[in-house]
């Protein structure tokens, strides 16, 4: 081997070692910061994955996070409640969170908010699985969901920094040192403000083929709730939009029936659609809208037939 080649490999080896050490140090620091958050989206996720023991839990995307007010549900249902919805997340995140929670305790009620494009085939949903990476180390039960992100995820996870990619600023901003300057949401609910008054509703999306992987995850979510005797409500909260097509072909309602979950669709409720002042944007209710919606939901949960414990339904199915 020539001197040049030897020199190159020695220096390259040294450099890679330096990178490995930096990766380990920085990765561990970021992990420490991540699980010491006192506010913000990471705090809420941490609380949902590792700490909450609320009897009622809300799952879903930003629409879940901004639409369901735990305090109202607590008063109505007499169950402690935590809103575990997270911006930009869908059924993958909800299922991963459900598995993690069921590994710790059994809530009495789960409310899953579905988007109208929940089962759309798109690459973004898979990209956003990066939100689960920090939890993989302590929650091996979500490994197969995280692996949906890419075939090389296992190899990427060798890096200690990789799970915290893109989070540095958010981590720093939500440290105890700065906590007073950011919103805390102890019950998980984050209100939105603003109004769509004077603006026309959005237009509807046309039917899309359903992603079979997402459908499978949804079905597992229903099955997990059923097997654990947890009451499950699957809801589509209001949109400020006039949609022409039903929620992705109607199969969610059929699956809910199969697993004894209650399906409530508020996406075309005139009570909301006719009041743009209740919306912050086409997809999200504002705080006033969330109040009205959660009150309506709470009332419906008391009155809707079939709202019974799933293990009772299981008894009815198996003679």
């Amino acid at each position: 081997m020539s001197r040049d080649v030897k020199r190159f490999f020695i220096k390259l080896g040294g450099f890679l070692l330096l990178i490995a050490v930096l990766d380990l140090a920085l990765g561990n620091l970021m992990r420490h910061l991540y699980f010491r958050q006192v506010s913000g989206v990471f705090y809420q996720s941490n609380h949902a994955f590792n700490e909450t023991r609320a009897k009622a839990l809300i799952f879903g995307s930003s629409r879940a996070n901004h639409h369901y007010i735990p305090g109202i549900l607590e008063d109505s249902l007499e169950l402690s409640c935590f809103n575990a919805g997270r911006d930009g997340q869908g059924i993958f995140y909800s299922l991963a969170l459900q598995r993690a929670i069921l590994g710790r305790y059994k809530p009495e009620l789960m409310i899953l908010d579905l988007n109208l494009n929940e089962f759309l085939e798109d690459s973004e949903s898979y990209d956003r699985l990066s939100a689960l990476l920090p939890y993989l180390k302590n929650h091996p039960e979500i490994k197969d969901i995280v692996r949906l992100k890419s075939r090389t995820e296992n190899i990427r996870m060798i890096s200690q920094v990789y799970p915290f990619n893109g989070t540095l600023l958010t981590l720093v901003a939500n440290l105890p040192l700065f906590a007073g300057k950011t919103k805390k949401a102890p019950d998980g609910y984050l209100p939105l403000y603003g109004s769509m008054e004077g603006r026309n509703p959005g237009t509807g999306i046309t039917g899309h083929p359903a992603d079979p992987v997402k459908v499978k995850c949804f079905e597992e979510f229903l099955e997990n709730a059923a097997e654990n005797g947890i009451r499950l409500v699957v809801a589509v909260s209001p949109y400020y939009a006039d949609f022409q097509d039903p929620l992705t072909h109607g199969f969610p309602e059929e699956l809910c029936l199969k697993y004894g979950a209650v399906f409530l669709d508020y996406s075309r409720e005139k009570e909301f659609l006719d009041h743009p002042g209740l919306f912050a944007d086409v997809f999200h209710l504002n705080d006033a809208g969330a109040n009205r919606f959660t009150e309506k939901l709470a009332m419906d949960l008391k009155n809707v037939p079939g709202m019974e414990k799933n293990d009772q339904l299981a008894d009815k199915r198996d003679p």
């Binding site: 020539s2 040049d4 080649v5 020199r7 190159f8 450099f15 330096l18 990178i19 930096l22 990766d23 920085l26 690459s123 990209d127 990066s130 890419s150 090389t152 190899i155 990427r156 890096s159 920094v161 990789y162 915290f164 990619n165 893109g166 989070t167 540095l168 600023l169 958010t170 901003a173």
Partner: protein, 471 residues
């Protein structure tokens, strides 16, 4: 295969290592096989299209060389038409078809030809132009035909520049593929530095800016003029970092193996005029159009009217090369119009503003950047109408600025700043800030490590394809 993929992280060292281990006589075959694998990683069957153009132009080169007079011209013509026909079918058929249908419909006529469902083979525009430059140079007598089919194939398919350039010339590349290259420490380090910088520009800057640009441009009706203006500036740097990043990785990869590809970008946003911009932006393409379209049309050795015509035609074709959409044609046309206007303004300035030369420099950079950004609106918009709407809002709508998630916005600005600082230090040779080539080895190593960590901390790993892959 994408450069910013895990597969390439494995592919590149493996190919390079084997390249230096193999005896020289087998290296061409190894590189050719690797290049085939690289290309087939996208859609395997499309390598057949590449093979067709390779066979056509390889044969044409030999036939042109051994022919004279009209026969020579005929073989050149056949080669150009055949090669361009492949490009036309895959890239432009649907575009022209749709336009003819619209015209027929306007006149109330039936138009029987339907659109075809066809995927554009990756890099078709690039290797088509590279093949065309080969046959033309053989025709002009400036290049001997390559008789070894393997070396010619490798010239077309050399993986670092196969799918998005730089568009090489046979005089530069062919002989290098034949020469024996030994491993050199300095070249290898230089190549790896370029790859690292290219990856930073793509993954940390371009893909981060893309998040904001896509959010605004894909919902332009919902956004203010201020947001659209910022998104346009971001897009200017997104496309620059994306494309120059790819070029850097391509050039760096080749350099490690001892092969020098041409420079493709030279800090274009520091240009003080549109004419200078086109000497710094996508240099391999602009020189291609200069040598094979503009100069054959007469170049600037003609009357003023003919000069302007030559410029406009060259840039309109260049616009069309970028994509089968009128927005790209408009983009090219506006650049052509800028150049024509620039010729007039230059004449005026040389007579009246000689004493303001320095200010011209600073003001020139700013004005040039703004003019270029205005053309990027057409490049990014999905239609001419949308481009006009966006421009209208930029100049008339002054509502609040959309930032999106604050952290992402800050990362975008930070990445942009690093690129701008880098380009300024390179352009003006500010040695103390040229960290990658600093005199102190500690500064250099810290810069390398910081760049790697920046990629891991701030890189967008789901950014996907490079923009120019669509061409």
């Amino acid at each position: 295969m994408l450069f910013n993929s895990f597969a390439f992280l494995v592919f590149f060292p493996a190919v390079t290592l084997l390249y230096f281990v193999l005896p020289h006589r087998w290296r061409w075959l190894h590189l050719l096989a690797a290049s085939c694998f690289f290309y087939m990683y996208f859609i395997p069957v499309y390598i057949l299209i590449l093979l067709v153009t390779i066979v056509i132009d390889y044969s044409a080169g030999l036939l042109i060389h051994q022919s004279t007079g009209r026969k020579k011209s005929l073989f050149l013509l056949i080669s150009i038409i055949s090669t361009c026909l492949v490009l036309f079918v895959f890239k432009y058929f649907n575009f022209f078809n749709a336009n003819f249908e619209a015209i027929a419909s306007f006149f109330g006529l039936d138009y029987p030809v339907k659109l075809v469902n066809i995927i554009l083979p990756v890099g078709l525009s690039f290797h088509t132009f590279q093949s065309l430059s080969y046959v033309v140079e053989v025709y002009r007598g400036k290049q001997l035909p390559e008789r070894h089919f393997g070396y010619y194939s490798l010239y077309v398919m050399f993986y670092p520049q196969l799918v998005a350039g730089p568009i090489e010339r046979p005089q530069n590349l062919l002989h290098q593929l034949r020469e024996k290259h030994s491993f050199e420490y300095a070249r290898a380090v230089s190549g790896l530095k370029l790859i690292l910088w290219g990856m930073f520009k793509k993954v940390v800057v371009a893909d981060r800016l893309a998040v904001y640009v896509n959010a605004v441009y894909n919902n332009q009706a919902e956004h203010s003029g201020a947001s659209l203006a910022l998104a346009t500036v971001f897009f200017a740097f997104q496309i620059y970092c994306d494309f120059s990043g790819y070029s850097d990785i391509a050039i760096g990869s080749a350099r490690v193996m001892g092969i020098d590809l041409m420079t493709n970008f030279r800090w274009p946003y520091l240009s003080r005029s549109i004419a200078e911009f086109w000497k710094r932006w996508h240099i391999s393409l602009s020189t291609w159009f200069r040598d094979y379209v503009y100069i054959p049309l007469g170049g600037n050795r003609v009357s003023n009217a003919r000069l302007y015509f030559n410029l406009m035609i060259t840039f309109l074709i260049s616009g069309l090369w970028h994509g089968a959409n009128w927005t790209f044609v408009a983009w090219g046309g506006i650049n052509g119009a800028y150049l024509v206007s620039g010729i007039w303004i230059n004449k005026l300035l040389s007579k009246t503003l000689v004493s303001l030369k320095t200010l011209q420099g600073i003001a020139g950079i700013a004005v040039c950047f703004v003019l270029v950004c205005l053309t990027w609106v057409y490049f990014r918009a999905s239609s001419i109408g949308e481009a006009h709407e966006i421009l209208g809002k930029i100049f008339t709508s002054h509502n609040s600025l959309f930032t999106g998630p604050v952290s992402g916005f800050i990362y975008s600005l930070a990445g942009l700043s690093v690129v701008i600082l880098h380009d300024i230090t390179e352009e003006y040779r500010i040695e103390s800030l040229r960290f990658f080539s600093h005199g102190s080895s500690w500064v250099r190593r810290t810069a390398y490590a910081a760049t790697v960590m920046a990629i891991m901390l701030f890189g967008v790993f789901d950014g996907g394809q490079f923009i120019y892959f669509q061409f």
